[in-house]
């Protein structure tokens, strides 16, 4: 029985006991008072009658008259005069006692009054004894009335006490519920603090739990800070602070190969005659130059949004911008700033040259690199501060926003959507779940397009909520059709959370298919989750309440933000390919990932690697503690 109910019961029982007890006590005392009053009346009336009769020489007629007169004028049950030898001389008894009081009540609470007795004498001779008993029906009526009033008063008092009791309980229950909620949250790995309850006992508990949560948070933050340092060291160029070559290649690979990639642009920047500058101005000045170039490159990335900037080697820098970018314009601006920045170091000839190219998703990494390299070589050959652009792949004929909107909507309506699937293996190679990205056919005859082709447009047109719900529905159906499937992962766009009807609809879907929704894994990309953080938090709670699992995909690029995810109670992380690429040759990333799996496991999160391309990588992942992996090497 719940504590709340027990408290209620205790209140009710103690109230009943108190009420019944007081009812009994006051009824009994009223009864004894009435009995005493009756006895007193009996005694007094008997004495008065005997006294008045003793004053006149009493004979039977006088006595009988006097007894009748008294009897008829008052409320008596019986009046008898008994002679000295015990013989009855006069007797008057009431026939029926008419009363409104129920019979059972009179039987339950009998009023026993003592009869009054007094001597009648004629001079010195004894005439007899008056034995007188008053009618008790009036006393019964009065007792009955007082009991009814008492019961009514008890009921009213009971109602008031019940109301007050429930108020008190509610006041008690509120802080109790808060504490219980916190405990529940902690078991769900959501490390939340609560406002300390006002009730002293609960305040201690709340305080202790808050302190524990704070301590966990501090420990977590400390570990995260150390890991962030490791990550930076492993993946960045120490001189400029930009990413290093291997990290950049991982990112580029990911932009080319990822299912949801919408392509991007690559810019390679070469500082001309670095060796000459080094000889002429010395090492320190050269380093200064490189730092300045690094700053300009980094600044360019900040102004143009999502992407990665890196120093590839001695004189080469690179920028990868995600999505459709007017790469020519970006390059012009960048060149102008670079020329200005490098001017103090350059005596003659060109200072920087750029090779650039925009790429659609799906191209080979080697092909893209070699073509942009060739463009750079051509720019260098020009002998001036210049830009050459490589033409990579064929661009689709551009469509208008209206056209996109119509096409995507009709695809959803006509069910031209489907899930494709990639296995996600656990550490032993067994199937953990299948990751299922959505593909969509714009026209009946068209080809199945991966997310990268339609998602950026869908995001701009705010159509992702419909797409995501379609994907969830397909996923749940698939789970229902295949009971042996251990799990199925669907990725959602964080921008769907902007749509107010998305979350209720999602919750409803999960509830409708609650039998299979336990096997559903839902993931959101790191960048999106951080951008729509409040919405994401609500999503996490809703998904967990629905019984499904929730995680972050492409995790790690904004690792320093891990503190924000820590208290949410996430079930898993899918670590971005850029940390996985060539892991077996990268001790820095091994250290980083080892730390990452350690702290993730400390709050019971699974860690899964994305884009595993070789068995060596997979083996190295197992060593650093990964729970699962997906990618081309995982079959």
């Amino acid at each position: 029985m719940s504590m709340y109910r027990q408290l209620w019961l205790a209140i009710i029982i103690s109230m009943l006991l108190a009420l019944v007890g007081s009812l009994l006590a006051s009824t009994l005392s009223a009864r004894s008072y009435l009995e005493e009053q009756l006895t007193t009346k009996n005694v007094d009336n008997a004495a008065a009658l005997a006294l008045s009769l003793s004053q006149q020489q009493p004979d039977l007629v006088i006595v009988e008259l006097a007894v009748s007169a008294l009897f008829d004028s008052g409320h008596y049950e019986s009046i008898e005069v008994v002679g000295p030898q015990g013989e009855v001389l006069v007797s008057r008894k009431a026939e029926v006692v008419v009363s409104t009081v129920p019979q059972w009540f009179m039987q339950m609470l009998p009023l026993d009054s003592l009869p009054g007795e007094a001597q009648i004498t004629g001079g010195w001779t004894q005439f007899g004894t008056v034995v007188l008993k008053s009618n008790s029906s009036f006393a019964y009526a009065s007792l009955w009335k007082s009991v009814i009033e008492l019961v009514l008063a008890a009921v009213v008092a009971g109602l008031v006490a019940g109301y007050l009791g429930s108020r008190i309980l509610r006041r008690l229950r509120q802080p109790l519920d808060t504490v219980i909620e916190q405990a529940q949250a902690i078991t769900d790995r959501r490390f939340v603090t609560i406002k300390e309850p006002a009730v002293p006992e609960l305040r201690k508990l709340g305080k202790a739990m808050n302190a524990m949560v704070e301590r966990i948070k501090l420990m977590f933050e400390e570990q995260a800070r150390q890991l962030e340092a490791v990550r930076r060291e492993a993946n960045s160029d120490p001189l400029t602070g930009l990413a290093n070559r291997s990290y950049f290649m991982g990112r580029l690979q990911s932009a080319l190969a990822r299912e949801d990639s919408s392509g991007g642009a690559l810019l390679i920047i070469r500082v001309a005659d670095l060796v000459g500058i080094n000889q002429r101005l010395g090492r320190e000045a050269t380093d200064d130059l490189l730092r300045r170039v690094g700053a300009v490159v980094s600044n360019c990335l900040d102004t143009h949004g999502d992407g990665t900037a890196a120093r590839l080697n001695g004189a080469d820098f690179a920028i990868m911008l995600a999505g459709k970018v007017m790469v020519g314009n970006v390059a012009e601006l960048l060149l102008a700033r670079l020329v200005k920045e490098t001017a103090p170091f350059v005596e003659q000839g060109p200072a920087v040259c750029l090779g650039i190219g925009a790429f659609p998703p799906g191209l080979e990494l080697g092909a893209v690199l070699s073509q942009v390299d060739a463009a750079l070589a051509a720019a260098e050959a020009d002998g001036i501060n210049g830009i050459r652009e490589a033409t990579l792949g064929a661009n689709d004929a551009p469509k208008s926003a209206d056209e996109w909107s119509r096409l995507i909507k009709s695809a959803i309506e006509q069910h031209r959507v489907r899930l494709i699937s990639f296995p996600v293996a656990d550490a032993t190679g067994g199937l953990l779940h299948r990751e299922c990205p959505l593909r969509l056919k714009l026209t009946e005859q068209g080809e199945w397009l991966p997310a990268g082709h339609f998602l950026p447009m869908a995001e701009r047109l705010k159509l992702t909520a419909q797409l995501d719900l379609a994907a969830i529905e397909l996923g749940l159906t698939q789970l229902a059709n295949d009971p042996a499937l251990p799990g199925l992962a669907i990725n959602l766009s964080a921008s769907s959370l902007e749509n107010a009807s998305f979350l209720p609809r999602l919750v409803e879907l999960l509830k409708q298919r609650s039998a299979v929704s336990r096997r559903l894994w839902i993931e959101v990309a790191e960048a999106g989750a951080l951008r729509y953080f409040d919405g994401f938090k609500t999503l996490v709670l809703a998904v967990k309440a629905g019984g499904s699992r929730i995680g972050i995909e492409h995790f790690g690029r904004q690792f320093s933000q891990i503190g924000r995810f820590h208290a949410l109670g996430l079930d898993y992380l899918k670590v971005d390919v850029s940390f996985v690429r060539d892991l077996h040759n990268n001790p820095g990333n091994q250290t980083f990932l080892k730390g990452l799996t350690h702290i993730a496991h400390s709050i019971s999160m699974l860690v899964i690697a994305e884009g595993v391309a070789s068995d060596e990588e997979f083996q190295a992942l197992k060593v650093v503690g990964f729970d699962g992996a997906t990618g081309p090497a995982i079959r």
Partner: protein, 217 residues
């Protein structure tokens, strides 16, 4: 004969019937009065002891004489500074004096103690004609009446006329009202167990309770 009875009492053990606890009575007496009253109490004890062995007619005389000879008769106001106070036998012994009710009550207790049935005894309020110094007058008075049988003419135990006489010989007394203590006794008994602390006692009940606390059952 009295002498023989005294002798008999001296060497024979006290009859079992004696219900009064004289140790308690002594203690109660000393609590409120001084030791000079003890001999009177002892004499009362002796009187009761002897009277209990006598036939009923002689019991009456013996007890009546004891009280009439050993106590002064006064009006209540003087003795207790309170109008018409009913004193218990112990209070009577303690003071050595009392009024008519106190005497009647003490005689009643004593007779009851030596085995006279209480249904034969009546307390009687009487109007008494007396010859005071100022001339003849009447007095509100109380006597104890003894009825050998219910219909018989009673014997009167009085302190105005110390001789026990039959009612017809007492022309100076006009009975007004009498009460039989039995009904009141049972009333007191019932009161003490069932209706405690109500403060509603008749005068007789009040007396009985006070006497009981002193050790007179």
């Amino acid at each position: 004969m009295l002498f023989v009875a005294c002798l008999f009492a001296l060497w024979s053990p006290l009859p079992e019937a004696l219900g009064f606890d004289f140790d308690r009575l002594r203690a109660a007496l000393l609590e409120r009065f001084d030791t000079t009253r003890l001999p009177l109490l002892d004499r009362w004890q002796q009187t009761l002891t002897i009277a209990s062995t006598l036939p009923e007619a002689e019991k009456l005389i013996y007890i009546n004489d004891f009280f009439n000879n050993n106590f002064y008769f006064y009006d209540d106001v003087k003795v207790w500074q309170q109008n018409d106070y009913w004193a218990t036998p112990m209070e009577l012994i303690g003071r050595g004096e009392g009024d008519c009710e106190d005497m009647a009550i003490a005689k009643y207790y004593s007779l009851k103690e030596v085995g006279v049935a209480t249904e034969k005894l009546r307390m009687v309020y009487v109007k008494a004609a007396v010859h005071a110094d100022a001339g003849p007058t009447t007095l509100a008075h109380m006597v104890l009446a003894y009825y050998p049988t219910p219909n018989a003419e009673p014997l009167v135990l009085d302190n105005l006329d110390v001789q026990i006489k039959s009612a017809s010989q007492r022309g100076d007394l006009q009975p007004i009202f009498s009460f039989n203590s039995d009904a009141v006794w049972s009333g007191v008994a019932a009161n003490s167990t069932r209706k405690e602390g109500t403060g509603q006692l008749t005068r007789w009940q009040d007396l009985v309770q006070r006497a009981r606390t002193e050790g007179l059952e």
